[in-house]
C-alpha cells in the first residue's frame, strides 16, 4: 500500500515539475525530451550539459535534483527516463529492478575552514585528525594533533565548530566513506552513509548552507564539493594522501585519482576512487552514477538518454572543467558504451 502511495506521490511530484517547466516558458515536452531524477552532487553539471545539449538542436533534459534516494526510487518506479545516485547501488538491487548502472562524471569533496588569523589554504590536515574533529575528540584549533601537522604555524586557541550536511546527501556519503576508511574509531562510532549520527557540530542545509555555516562561524570547518569552495572563495586546507604527501585540491589531483581507479574489475562499474595511491592524488574523489532500465518500455526515449550521455562524454568535457568536475577517462567512456549494448527493448538492442 505504501509503495502505491509513494508511487502516486512521485507521479504528482513529476506532474508538478513538468507543469513548472511548462509554466516557466521552457519548451513543452517533445519526443526528444528526456526526464531524470538525480542526486544533487552532479546537479550543476547535468544542468549545464542539458543547456548545451539543447543548443545543439537535440531534445531538452528535464532534470530534478531531488537527491540520490529519490533518484533511485523514481527510476525503480520508472517515472523518469533515468535516475542518478552519488553512491553505487547494491548489485542485488540493480538486478532485482533490472537496472544498468554506469558512472557519468567525477567530482571531489574538499574540506573548508575559517580560522581567524590562519591562512586556511596552507593549513595541513589528514584524515585521522578530521575524523577526530568530527567525533569531538579534537576540540581546539591549537590542539597538539593539528600543531604537529603544521610546524611553524601559529594556531589560535579557538574552539572548532564542525559543520555537516543536514540533509541526507551523497556528498556526506563520500566524505564519511573516506573518514571511515582512514579512521577505525570513526567507522565504529559514526560510520559512513548519506546521513550519519554525527557526534558533534551543526547541520546546515545543502552545500551552500555548509559553506555559509563555515563562513559565519569563527573556527568553523566543513566539507563541500570543490565547485562550491572555489565559487565562494573559501579556504580549503591541504590533505595528506595515501603517499603521505600533503596536496592542495586541484583538478590535476582529482584526475590522478580517477586514473588510479580500478575500473576493469569493479562490479557494475562502481570503482572506488577514495584514498588512491600517487604523489599528487587528492584523497576524496568519487564518481556519480546514472541508472537506466535494462528493459525500457519506450526504446526511443531510452535511446535518447544514451544519446545525451554519449554527447556529454564526447563534448561535455569543457563544461565539466569549467564547473570543476572531471570527465570520465576515455577508456572508461568506452567501457560504459559497451555496457549500453546490453540494453534491449522487445529483443532489439537500444544502443547500436
Amino acid at each position: 500500500m505504501l509503495n502505491q502511495l509513494t508511487k502516486s506521490v512521485g507521479r504528482v511530484v513529476r506532474a508538478a515539475a513538468i507543469a513548472a517547466v511548462i509554466g516557466g516558458g521552457i519548451a513543452a515536452a517533445s519526443a526528444q525530451d528526456i526526464t531524470g531524477a538525480c542526486a544533487t552532487f552532479p546537479g550543476p553539471i547535468y544542468t549545464k550539459w542539458g543547456e548545451q545539449y539543447k543548443a545543439t538542436g537535440a531534445g531538452a533534459l528535464n532534470y530534478q535534483a531531488v537527491g540520490s534516494g529519490a533518484g533511485v526510487t523514481q527510476i525503480i518506479n520508472r517515472t523518469v527516463d533515468f535516475g542518478a545516485s552519488d553512491t553505487p547501488v547494491a548489485s542485488e538491487r540493480l538486478a532485482s529492478n533490472n537496472l544498468l548502472q554506469f558512472p557519468a562524471v567525477i567530482g571531489a569533496v574538499v574540506v573548508v575552514v575559517n580560522i581567524p588569523g590562519v591562512d586556511g589554504a596552507n593549513l595541513k590536515l589528514n584524515g585521522a585528525v578530521i575524523a577526530d574533529i568530527y567525533q569531538g575528540r579534537i576540540r581546539m584549533w591549537n590542539a597538539k594533533e593539528i600543531k604537529d601537522l603544521n610546524p611553524g604555524v601559529t594556531l589560535p586557541a579557538v574552539a572548532i565548530a564542525p559543520a555537516y550536511r543536514a540533509d541526507s546527501s551523497g556528498t556526506t556519503n563520500i566524505f564519511t566513506s573516506y573518514l571511515a576508511s582512514v579512521s577505525l574509531p570513526f567507522q565504529t562510532n559514526v560510520g559512513a552513509g548519506n546521513s550519519v549520527p554525527w557526534k558533534t557540530g551543526v547541520g546546515a542545509p545543502g552545500n551552500a548552507g555548509v559553506a555559509a555555516a563555515v563562513k559565519n562561524t569563527k573556527g568553523g570547518i566543513g566539507y563541500v564539493e570543490y565547485a562550491y569552495a572555489t565559487e565562494n572563495g573559501m579556504q580549503a586546507p591541504m590533505l595528506e594522501n595515501r603517499a603521505k604527501k600533503f596536496v592542495k585540491p586541484t583538478v590535476a589531483g582529482f584526475n590522478a585519482a580517477a586514473s588510479q581507479a580500478n575500473w576493469n574489475n569493479a562490479p557494475n562499474m562502481a570503482a572506488s576512487m577514495l584514498n588512491m595511491s600517487g604523489d599528487t592524488t587528492w584523497p576524496i574523489v568519487s564518481a556519480t552514477y546514472v541508472l537506466v532500465p535494462k528493459n525500457p518500455s519506450d526504446p526511443v526515449r531510452a535511446a535518447n538518454v544514451l544519446k545525451f550521455f554519449d554527447w556529454a562524454f564526447k563534448s561535455g568535457g569543457p563544461a565539466a572543467d569549467q564547473l570543476h568536475y572531471i570527465a570520465l577517462p576515455k577508456a572508461v567512456q568506452d567501457q560504459v558504451r559497451k555496457k549500453w549494448t546490453t540494453i534491449s527493448a522487445n529483443g532489439q538492442p537500444v544502443w547500436k
Binding site: 505504501l2 531531488v66 525503480i76 543536514a166 540533509d167 546521513s195 550519519v196 554525527w198 548552507g209
Partner: protein, 321 residues
C-alpha cells in the same frame, strides 16, 4: 381572496430541491474535515507501523537516531520540538500580549491601523525568509554577542544532572535558543493579532464602568479585560504553539540539525519536522527509515493533538470555575 398559487403553499411543505442540496452539501462539508483528519492519522500510522513494530516503545524513548545502523529513536527530535516550541511561547506570549494591550488601550488612534497592519504583514512573511534571516543575521549575532554574554551571566546555574549544562556551550550560533527566537518572531503576529481581537471584544460598557469607578489602566486590564476574555486568550497562545510545533523550513535553517540529545539551551538539536524534511527525499521506498519518518509524523500529530486537547481541558475547567 386566495389565489390558487398561494393555496398550494399553505399547509403543505414540499421538499425544495435547492434546500435539500444545500442541506446535504453542508453535511458533506462537515464530513470532509473528519474524513481528512482520520485518513491522515491512519496513513501516518500505517506508514510508521513498521517502525513502531521494530523498535516498540523504544521508538519514542530511545535517544539514538542512526541511519547507518538503521536504529531509530525519536526522543531527540521530540525533545527539540517541545523545547523550541515552549521557549518560543514563553518569549512571544508576553510580547504579543503587550502589543495587543498597547494597540487596544494606549496607542494613539492614528497609529492603530498602521501598527495593526504591520503586525499582520509580519504574519505574511514566508517561513523560508525567516529561516534565512535567522541563519545569516541572527545566528552570527547570537554566536558573537548574545551567547558569550548569556553564558557568563548564567554561569552560576548548576547543571541538570551530569549532562545538561543550561547555558554553557560553544557559541555555534545555531541551536535551540536561536530556533526558539525565530519561532517566537514567527508566532508573535498570530498571538498579538488574536489577542487584540479578543480584547476588542470586551464590552466597552464594562471597561467604561471600571474607569468610572476610578480604576487605573492596569487595574482595568487585570480586573476586567483579562477575566472577561480569559478563555480566548488561551486560545491565542495555543494557536501560536500549534504553529511553533509544526514549523519546518525556518527551523531547518537555525536549529543546527543534530539528532542527538541537547546538552544545553544553545546546543544544536532537531525538531520532528526538521528531521522529516531533511531525510525524506533520500528515504527509500519500503525502508525502515521511511517508516521511522512517517512514525515521527504520527508522533508530531499526536503531540499537537495532545496540546490542543490539553488547552481545551484547561479552558473547560476555567469556565466551570
Amino acid at each position: 381572496m386566495e389565489t390558487t398559487a398561494a393555496k398550494s403553499l399553505i399547509g403543505t411543505r414540499k421538499p425544495h430541491l435547492g434546500d435539500t442540496t444545500f442541506h446535504i452539501s453542508l453535511y458533506v462539508a462537515g464530513a470532509i474535515v473528519v474524513v481528512v483528519l482520520a485518513s491522515i492519522l491512519l496513513i501516518m500510522f500505517l506508514g510508521g507501523r513498521q517502525a513502531f513494530e521494530t523498535f516498540g516503545v523504544g521508538f519514542i524513548w530511545s535517544t539514538e537516531w542512526n541511519a547507518v545502523t538503521s536504529i531509530y529513536g525519536a526522543l531527540p527530535a521530540i525533545t527539540g520540538t517541545l523545547i523550541t516550541a515552549l521557549l518560543a511561547i514563553c518569549i512571544a506570549w508576553p510580547i504579543g500580549f503587550g502589543i495587543a494591550f498597547f494597540l487596544t488601550e494606549i496607542c494613539p488612534r492614528a497609529l492603530r491601523a498602521p501598527l495593526g497592519i504591520a503586525i499582520e504583514l509580519l504574519a505574511a512573511i514566508p517561513s523560508i525568509v525567516y529561516g534565512m534571516w535567522g541563519f545569516f543575521v541572527l545566528a552570527p549575532f547570537m554566536a558573537e554577542t548574545v551567547q558569550p554574554w548569556l553564558t557568563e551571566v548564567f554561569a552560576w546555574i548548576p547543571p541538570l544532572g551530569d549532562s545538561f549544562f543550561w547555558f554553557s556551550a560553544p557559541p555555534l550560533g545555531v541551536g535551540l535558543m536561536t530556533a526558539s527566537l525565530v519561532l517566537a518572531v514567527m508566532i508573535l503576529p498570530f498571538i498579538a493579532a488574536t489577542t487584540r481581537d479578543v480584547m476588542l471584544s470586551t464590552p466597552q460598557l464594562l471597561k467604561d464602568g471600571a474607569y468610572a469607578m476610578g480604576a487605573t489602566r492596569w487595574e482595568t486590564l487585570t480586573g476586567v479585560v483579562i477575566p472577561a476574555v480569559r478563555g480566548s486568550l488561551f486560545g491565542a497562545v495555543f494557536l501560536g504553539l500549534g504553529r511553533a510545533l509544526g514549523e519546518t523550513m525556518a527551523v531547518v535553517f537555525v536549529i543546527g540539525n543534530a539528532t542527538r540529545m541537547p546538552d544545553s539551551l544553545y546546543a544544536p538539536s532537531a525538531s520532528i519536522a526538521s528531521v522529516v524534511a531533511n531525510n525524506f527525499p533520500e528515504a527509500e521506498t519500503g525502508s525502515i527509515q521511511l517508516a521511522a519518518l512517517l512514525g515521527l509524523g504520527f508522533i508530531l500529530f499526536v503531540v499537537s493533538f495532545g496540546v490542543l486537547a490539553l488547552a481545551r481541558l484547561l479552558l473547560r475547567q476555567e469556565r466551570m470555575a
